[in-house]
Symmetry: C2
Subunit: 344 residues, 2 copies
């Protein structure tokens, strides 16, 4: 399968995040993408660059004010003479208003964010837009007839909602791919999210839509990030009622439990009658991942790939998380090889 990747991802680097109460270099590092790229190149996959995306093309998924904020925030921060990391000092959480965007930069930053671990750095916008471009380009390849394509996105996207960023994510690459497939004529698109964390952003974006099914396997929000979405009782609303499906797993779930939930997810996608599939692929389900709630072995990733292929759908695979850097290339390659060998 074709791989779409942009070197612009490297512009998003140097940030720090709060981890166990200390500021540490972000787990979501440029090395992640470099090592995946090296692995897929060595395995003989053809890698191409994405087409350029305009900010306008994001508006099928994202809010215009939010996109503007992401595009200009760092320049505004620098113009105000500020230093350090762009991390909000308050969030519109419980007991606070969510209906008014403060005019100042600090307030706007908190308004559009939900966590203190996703700093915006100078190159964040360039990298995020390029990652969105990878996902959209991969969707276009598949819409044009490729059986599958892999968008090697960085930063990841599934925690980014319609107008909110967090969890290392700024623009929702998988949602943009699904939306692009819809625009190109696919009537029903399924997003299957196998990252170790719930894709709260993707769920939120398609919450009231019946044309995009969202199914996710992830560590339960009872104990795992992002904590405030991803329970089994979330099923969509309005026209989207029944088109969200969450399969939370207990902490440190292993392959047998994971595989059983995966079969449920595949059945849900099958019943939906999707014309295409978008996979939010996080390999932070790996047991060696430093921030992972799920404990798969490297040998399970090819099995996962094969089961995804068993749906026999045109498929866009979008890179999400995975923070066991030394193993990330091999684990992603395991999924892609498993997918290409196919399932039955």
């Amino acid at each position: 399968m074709r791989v779409v990747h942009s070197p612009l991802h490297a512009r998003h680097q140097g940030g720090k995040e709060l981890h166990r109460g200390e500021l540490v270099p972000c787990f979501e590092s440029p090395a992640r993408a470099e090592l995946i790229l090296e692995a897929v190149r060595r395995a003989g996959f053809e890698v191409s660059e994405p087409r350029a995306l305009s900010a306008q093309e994001l508006l099928g998924v994202h809010d215009a004010g939010f996109v503007d904020f992401l595009r200009t925030a760092h320049a505004e921060w620098r113009a105000a003479g500020k230093e350090g990391f762009m991390i909000p000092s308050a969030f519109p959480a419980r007991g606070l208003r969510q209906d008014r965007v403060p005019a100042g930069l600090n307030g706007r930053m908190g308004f559009y964010c939900f966590d203190p671990g996703t700093p915006i750095v100078e190159g964040t916008w360039d990298a995020a837009l390029a990652a969105a471009g990878c996902a959209v380009t991969a969707a276009e390849l598949v819409a044009e007839g490729a059986p599958s394509a892999y968008a090697l996105c960085r930063p990841p996207g599934h925690h980014a909602g319609h107008a909110v960023y967090g969890g290392y994510c700024f623009l929702n690459n998988a949602a943009l791919a699904a939306q692009r497939l819809r625009e190109l004529g696919l009537a029903r698109v399924a997003v299957l999210d196998v990252d170790a964390h719930h894709g709260n952003g993707t769920q939120e974006i398609f919450w009231e839509r019946a044309d995009v099914l969202y199914v996710s396997l992830h560590g339960t929000p009872e104990t795992d990030y992002p904590y405030f979405l991803g329970w089994a009782d979330e099923r969509g609303a309005g026209a989207g009622e029944g088109f969200t499906r969450n399969l939370p797993l207990p902490r440190d779930a292993r392959w047998p439990e994971y595989a059983a939930a995966l079969e449920e997810a595949l059945e849900a996608v099958g019943r939906f009658g999707a014309g295409a599939l978008v996979v939010s692929l996080g390999v932070d389900t790996f047991a060696g991942d430093p921030i992972s709630p799920i404990a798969l072995g490297a040998e399970h990733f090819p099995l996962l790939g094969a089961r995804l292929a068993s749906l026999r759908l045109p498929t866009v695979i979008v890179q999400e998380g995975g923070y066991a850097v030394a193993d990330i290339g091999g684990n992603v390659l395991g999924v892609l090889n498993g997918f290409e060998r196919g399932g039955d």
Copy 2:
């Protein structure tokens, strides 16, 4: 006037907060209370300790699950072998659920919090409960006939809501004082908040109540913390409709603008027909304050005190913010002296 203060405040120390993207020692330091204590002692005020408060006595203002969380969180953190600062990694902000408390400690911490700058340390609960005790004891002195009393509280309280902490605040001392005055027979109690920041917690606690008026002067949320509450259009709801009054001020407002808004606030309290007054006294309105949106001079604090006294109401003054540590004692003393000399 009598001063109520507890040395237990010093157990809350050693935390770090995010400021301009770096972890720095909390601006809300033990030295703040020590320097105020020294100033009031030197000026001849009588200082006494508060009575002990039970967690049960907090429930007129705070949620039981929230109180339990604050009481046990640090022990739980330590028992789990965690280190560093207790700062949440995600908040139930936009696009996320606020109706489900995750079981795990990290999720519960984010659920009950709205900012990453208010770490819970080992002695936080002891200090917060003692501060609440100061406010309640001062309220009891006033209910028993003292014309006024000053609760030298630390940590402060006005950002803490019914079930949410943040902004250096854990328990809402001023709200507990107002509630205690109500319990002791005062039919109508006004809270006048002159801290430089909006008292989002106090407003939220009394939002639907007609028996407690909340009036606040503060830097506009357009540019200042806490950003997501404190606009002029917030007037209360249900039975409390019309019993919240916000007077946001433009950034770096000086005495003339401040004094004009103060007169409006005093008129609102007068019209309400309060039987007692609780003042949330922050001296972070001082121009030299490192995180202040308002620019009063030291000479304005006695004027403020005199205007507060002009209401001629039994008054509980509760310490909130003030981070220009070298000046904090003099500025607080200015208010207290101005109040005692009285206004007309």
